[in-house]
């Protein structure tokens, strides 16, 4: 994928069946050398994100919910890196760096709060947190 070899693309174009199917030279270059393009990474990222979302919505253990949030952040990171790679911009990677930092900080604070609650009430099920009003 990095050094997109135009000769490969030309080779693919020379074959009659590909000529009709794919019109863009760059697309062929992608599929000829890697077979995996930006959209594959984005779909992977979308699936991971939705899995994380299901985890947050469905699970009742607050720690597992935090883990699911980490999953969602990771999904976003994948798409950042994929865009940074295919757009040839480094900014995406910087953003991933920042997201990782924030995510780690968020996990640290979340777990600190959960440990504090667990020490007091011995419970991490979010149904229970309703009783923590006022």
């Amino acid at each position: 994928m990095p050094n997109v070899d135009t000769s490969l693309a030309a080779e693919a174009l020379a074959r009659p069946e590909t000529q009709t199917q794919i019109e863009s030279l760059d697309l062929i270059a992608h599929s000829a050398t890697l077979g995996v393009g930006l959209s594959h990474y984005l779909i992977l990222s979308a699936i991971l994100f939705v899995l994380g979302m299901i985890g947050v919505l469905m699970r009742r253990n607050a720690i597992v919910m935090l883990m699911s949030i980490e999953l969602m952040l990771n999904a976003v990171n994948i798409s950042f890196v994929a865009f940074s790679r295919f757009q040839n911009l480094i900014d995406g990677q910087i953003m991933v760096f920042f997201v990782m930092t924030i995510a780690a900080a968020e996990a640290a604070v979340g777990l600190a709060i959960l440990v504090a609650i667990f020490k007091r009430f011995r419970e991490v099920n979010i149904r229970f947190f309703e009783h923590l009003r006022g």
């Binding site: 050398t33 990782m100 780690a104 900080a105 777990l111 440990v115 020490k119």
Partner: protein, 129 residues
Amino acid sequence: MPAALPVGLPLGGVIFIAIFVLCFGAALLLLASQLGTRKADPVKYESYECGIPVQEKKDTKISVKFYLTAILFILFDIEIIFMYPWASNFQEFIRTGQGGLVFGSMMIFIAVFIFGLFWEVKSKALEWD
């Protein structure tokens, strides 16, 4: 086959050796379990205890320091990782004339780091007694 993947990290090799090692270990364990003799004995399957009957309290108290250490590790680890790209390119920065800016920004960062460490020490978060 064109070498399509960037060659900086041969992922195939890494995955291969990881799986190979896992299989190797598992195979050895399997072999050992086949070769070893077997004798059932109820005492053998008890948990280890220092010569007295096993007691398990439901809630063993574990010092919260362990997890506090882990959290502080995460935070400081990230700060250290921020230094890596800086360190690997510091001489390059100086050569291109941005050395002062980069040096200054990292010194501010390290000052914040030191302040944090100082605060943790002062607040006795790192005391083990």
